[in-house]
Structures are given as C-alpha cells and as structure tokens.
C-alpha cells in the first residue's frame, strides 16, 4: 500500500547516489552542529541562497562607495586605490576590504549552495529550472570578480590582464590581439580600461537579473537572511577587514613580468592552469564542466511521481493550497463548474514536485468523512487521502500494547526509515492536521509522532514551517484545540539521526505511559476522559 513503512528510492546512477550520500553525511554533520550553535532559524547552511543574495548587496553597496573615490583612468586608477587604503583606510579602506571579502565569500557560499542542492538531489525533475539558471550565475560572478581585480592596476591586475588577454585572444574577434595592449607602457590603451570599468558595473547587474530569474519558480524564495545573522556576518566582515585590510600589490609595470603575485585562489585558481595547459584546454574544461552541469538534471532523467490534482466538487477556491505550495505550482482561476464560488484551484503539472503539501493544506482533506471513496479538494494522485486513511488504519493494526505510537513520517527524515506503525509521506506537511485528530479520537494509537526531516532544512522547502504553524494554531488548517498536545510529538531528524529519533520516540512513548496511567486513575475515580468526547 502506498506510503506504509520504508523510504521510497528515487532512480539514480549508483556513482551519483553514493556521491550524494557521502556529501549528505558531511552536510548533515555540519548542519546539525550549525543548528545547535546558531539555532535552526539562524543556521547559515540552511540559507546559502539567502546569504549569497546578502553578500551580493554588501558587495554592491561597498562598490558604489568605492566608486566615489576611484579614478577610472588607467593612469590614476592605482594611486586612487592607494589613497583609499592609505589616508582613508578607516572608511574607504574598510569598504574596499568589505568589497573584496564579501565577493570571495560569495564564491564560497555559492559553491556550497551548489554542492548542497546536489547532495539533496534537488535539481532533477521539476526542479531543473533553478539548477540550470544557476550555472550562468557562476560565470557572471567570476567575470565580475576578474574585471574587479583588473581595475586596481597593480601587479596582480597586470597578471590578470596578461593571462585574460591570452585567453581571449584564442577567439579571433578582436582586430588587434588584446595581448598587445599590455606589451609595454606605450601600448597601454585607456579605451580598453574604460571598457573594463563599464564591464565591472554591467556584469554584476546582469548577475542580479540572473539571480532574480533563478528564484522565479520558487514561492517565497528566501532571499534575505534573518537580521541577527546578517548583523553577525557584517560584524565578522568588519573584524576581518580590520585584521587584514585589502591592499594592492605594487603598481603595474609593463617593463617587468609580475613574477610573483598573491593570487586570489577563490577567483583566479584557474589562471595558473591557463599557463600550464594552454588556453584551449582551459576553455575546453570550462565549457565542458558548464555543459555537464547543465545536463545534470537529466542524468539520469528523474522518474517523476504523479502530480497533484484538483477535484472540483471538493474545492471552494479558498486559496490555502496556493499559499502553501512551495513551488508556485497552483493558482486560482475563475470557476468553471457553475458552483457559487468565484475561484477554483488549478495545478500546473510542469511545476509540481509532488510534495503533497497542498493536500495537507486543503480544508476538505478530512479523514472523518464517511464517504466510501474519500475525496478532497486537491490530492496527490500517487498517494491520495483515501489511501492515506487506509494506510493509517493498517499501520495502527501493526501496533500492540498500551502505548501505541503511530508515526506519520517525511520520507526524507529519520522517521522514513522506521519500521512498523509508520505511514510515510513525501513531506510531513502533507499530513492534514485532522488526520492526527482522527487517529487519536478513533483510538488508532495512544500517541502520534509527526516526524519531519531536519528542522532547518526541509527537503521540500516550507514544509517544516507550515507543520509547526498548523500545530500551533497559527496557520490554516489548524490542529483542533481538542487534540491533546501531550499525545502528539514532533521530531525533526535527518536520515543520519535515526538514533536520536529513536530516543525521542522512546521518551515520548514513556511519557504516554504515565499519561495513560493517570488517565486510567482518573477514569476509575469517575471523571470523564476527554478523549472520548469525540464525534463518531
């Protein structure tokens, strides 16, 4: 039966599956550590996209500030930057360090962001769009950084200029080879330098446009980190800027080769390779890796689970599923069946990731209904509400004793690997709160565990948040007040945390036992058991 016990396995190549699992283990360890230190809300590893956006803004603001003092002519560029870091180190110099280090950090955060999305397998199927639109961002980020290094016109800039020129000269698009611009001081052209200044402003703007496109298929993309985390980052940046201010490396001098330079190994690690391998090999590597990355969402193609489907007779157009869908896959459209509601929900199958969160959000998703063929407004065709109810009843039958705990588990968390008395879902937020009410009031178990994946890093985005808000009565549909909260436990645990999951579940079962004993005592003393006051 759909969803009873066991984790579903997605189709993947063994090499990739192992790579993801290995990476996942590393990420998991770091994420749990970060959650403990920073709290789940502030966990930097859970919001690398937002951190990348934040770092972009830091770079943009500090860049605008620097531009006020920067001389855009090649003759005076160097001395203006020296002035920034010299006499005016305490404001302009600090901004220069912010500009440099925030750019470097952006490279790091984007790289980890990419690896993390890969490890979570969040780039295939419907999610291909975010992945593919991410790749040009790497190019724009690097072009922005490289043109930036050029502008200082120090020895590093000279090195960057000479190697970049050689790289570009393999394409016969420039009338005169670019490399000839950097032969001797007499060859240097200020026209070319102005072009660079222009590129260093234009390319970051294209990057920003690309970042906007990148998040288009995601609802409520997290593009801003929480204030406290932002403040911590800014103060750490300030600390580093004072500890190790960014400095130039002596003026460019075309009569000499910049034989030894302090290289930015984050932006320029491939420049030595260009010299060692030759320009064509490096271009081959760059284009090859980009094409391979772009093809990855289809290597191998994702076997997609059946998508969500609207059942008009049960939809009143309340908008809750639209609000809760993490991938902008549902919208309200004018009513087509003549019912007296202005709207109805409509699913765009191309955007749906089959997380089931919409089913959990629909007010019609209530298992209490007596219908033979239980239906709801929006349902997951691969695991409809009817099957969910059957699975819950079947799972309950597997439980014995007086402290029966029924687990409703996200298949991406530790609970998804649990055996016996478990019903799994693509996301814990697929569970309609009324299902918990149903289980307890029908005495299918003494307690229910809602087992999600790790707290700060919901696989389906937003699922953890919605679940918490629904249980707390802050978001429709609420978990009804009459549900005894002592009989519901929420456990957030990644697949690598099965030990903690088991421990929390056992502790919950122990609490249930004392609760049962107290209830029995109360019952024998003649008081009414609130749990029996349920509708049939």
């Amino acid at each position: 039966m759909a969803g009873v016990g066991g984790r579903r396995r997605t189709n993947d190549w063994p090499v990739l599956r192992h790579a993801k699992k290995g990476l996942r283990r590393i990420f998991d360890l770091s994420e749990r550590g970060a959650e403990r230190l920073f709290s789940p809300v502030l966990n930097p590893l859970a919001q690398l996209g937002a951190l990348s956006f934040f770092l972009f803004w830091v770079v943009a603001v500090s860049g605008i500030y620097l531009f006020i003092f920067f001389d855009t002519g090649i003759v005076d560029a160097y001395s203006s930057v020296e002035w920034i870091s010299g006499q005016h180190w305490y404001h302009a110099g600090v901004m220069r360090s912010f500009h440099r280090y925030a750019s470097d950090l952006m490279v790091v955060s984007v790289a980890i962001h990419l690896l993390r999305e890969f490890s979570l397998d969040r780039y295939r199927g419907t999610r291909w769009f975010s992945w593919v639109t991410g790749i040009p961002l790497i190019w724009f980020l690097y072009i922005s950084g490289i043109t930036g290094y050029w502008l200082v016109w120090d020895m590093l800039a000279q090195y960057v200029a000479v190697v970049s020129a050689k790289l570009l000269d393999v394409f016969p698009v420039f009338g005169e080879p670019l490399a000839r611009n950097f032969l001797t001081p007499q060859h240097l052209s200020s026209r070319f330098f102005s072009l660079l200044v222009f590129l260093h402003i234009a390319v970051p703007l294209i990057l920003l446009l690309g970042m906007w496109i990148h998040t288009q298929r995601i609802s409520r993309p997290k593009v801003n980190p929480p204030r406290l985390l932002a403040a911590l980052m800014l103060s750490a940046l300030l600390g580093v800027s004072l500890w190790k201010p960014t400095l130039s490396q002596g003026p460019a001098d075309l009569t000499h080769v910049p034989a030894e330079v302090g290289l930015d190994w984050l932006f320029l690690p491939l420049y030595p390779l260009a010299e060692a391998w030759g320009e064509w090999s490096l271009w081959g590597l760059l284009v090859g890796v980009s094409v391979m990355l772009a093809a990855m969402p289809w290597l191998p193609p994702f076997r997609r689970a059946p998508v969500a489907k609207v059942d008009l007779p049960n939809c009143n157009g309340c908008n809750r599923c639209v609000e809760d869908c993490p991938y902008e896959a549902i919208r309200l459209v004018p009513r087509t069946d003549g019912e007296p509601f202005p709207h109805q929900a409509e699913v765009n199958a191309n955007l749906c990731v089959s997380c089931g969160i919409c089913m959990g959000a629909c007010p019609s998703s209530t298992p209490f209904r007596r219908q033979q063929d239980l239906k709801t407004g929006i349902d997951l065709t691969g695991q409809p509400l009817r099957d969910v109810r059957e699975s819950v009843v079947a799972a309950s039958a597997e439980l014995k004793g007086t402290r029966r705990v029924l687990v409703l588990a996200c298949e991406h968390g530790a609970g998804g690997g649990d055996l016996g008395g478990v019903v799994t879902f693509p996301c814990v937020a697929m569970v309609p709160p009324s299902l918990i009410d149903f289980i307890l009031s029908k005495d299918l178990a003494e307690g229910v565990v809602a087992a999600g994946c790790s707290e700060s890093t919901c696989y389906n985005r937003l699922g953890g948040e919605w679940t918490k808000q629904r249980f707390a009565g802050e978001r429709d549909p609420y978990l009804r007040k009459r549900v005894e909260r002592e009989r519901l436990a929420t456990i957030w645990a990644s697949p690598f945390e099965s030990r903690r999951y088991e421990a929390e579940k056992a502790a919950f079962a122990a609490r249930l036992e004392t609760l049962e004993k107290a209830a029995q005592r109360a019952a024998t003393e003649g008081e009414s058991d609130t749990r029996l006051e349920v509708e049939a």
Binding site: L37, P172, L183, S235, W243, H256, V257, A259, E260, G262
Partner: protein, 166 residues
C-alpha cells in the same frame, strides 16, 4: 550552552571562516616566472604586401573581363602569409609562415610568442618577409640584456623603420 555565551561563539565561528577566506584571497603566493628568469616577447601584427601575390593576367583571362576592368595583373583579395624567423644565440627559436587573420583572410598576420629566458645577454636575430618567397626584407640583429623578471618586447612597425626593441 548558555545563551549569553552563544553570541560571541557564533561571531567567532563566522570570523574564523571569514579569516580563512580572506587568507586564501592572496596566499599562497604564486610564481608565474621561475626565479632568475625574464621574458622576451616577440609580438607583432603586420599585414603582408597584397601585391606580392599578383601575377600577370593571361590573354584569355583578359578577354573574359569587360573592357573597363581589364588590368594587366590579377591580384587576389587574400593577403599572403608572412614568414618569420627568430634566433637566439644562433639557435632557431621560432620559424613560421603566418597566415593573415580575418574571415576574408585580408587582416594582418599576427605573431605573439613568449620566451622565458634565464637572465643574461643574448644575441638576437629576427627576420621577416612579406612575401611567401624571396629574401627577408626586414631583418635585425642585436645584443639584448634580460634582467630577472624583466619583460622585453620585439615589436614591428614598418613606419618606424622595422623592428622595434622595447
């Protein structure tokens, strides 16, 4: 852990990561040229003489052309390649027939060769011909000194009298 302790610890962890990133942003040093060596660049961009490839038109060819287009010579639109020879201390370091650039093969021929040499004095000989055959019209011999991490350049400008040593 005490809440009060957490904030400085968070700061410390971030600052430590940022310090690592800042350090990587210009260390370790990279040496692009071995110690005690300098660079000599042979670089020019020069169009060969188009007329060099002209030839006399045959009477049949002339007959085919309309009378106002009849010229005694037929000249191709393509430039011919240039020929370059470059010796250091009598040893041939570079020798090439360099085709013209551009899609229509009417652009200048380009040479850009870099030689990493130990510091010292060298006898340089460079020759260039703008025709695919015949003698080298341009040639120059010189002794040059290269100091460590020096960048010396041999350029060519016909209107400056030929090879230019920087």
């Amino acid at each position: 852990m005490k809440e009060a302790l957490k904030m400085p610890l968070r700061f410390a962890v971030l600052a430590l990561i940022f310090m690592g990133v800042a350090a990587l942003s210009n260390r370790p040093l990279y040496r692009s040229l071995p110690e005690g060596t300098g660079m000599l660049t042979l670089s020019f961009s020069h169009g060969a003489d188009r007329r060099a490839a002209c030839r006399k038109a045959t009477p049949e060819e002339l007959a085919k052309l309309p009378p106002n287009m009849r010229r005694p010579e037929i000249c191709p639109r393509d430039r011919p390649p240039i020929r370059v020879e470059f010796d250091i201390d009598g040893k041939r370091m570079f020798e090439a027939e360099v085709p013209p650039s551009g899609i229509a093969s009417d652009g200048p021929s380009r040479v850009h060769q870099r030689f990493v040499l130990p510091a010292g004095e060298y006898e340089i000989a460079v020759r260039m011909s703008e025709r695919p055959d015949g003698d080298f019209t341009w040639h120059e011999e010189r002794t040059i000194r290269i100091d460590p991490s020096n960048s010396r350049v041999i350029d060519f400008r016909a209107n400056a009298g030929g090879f230019v040593f920087h």
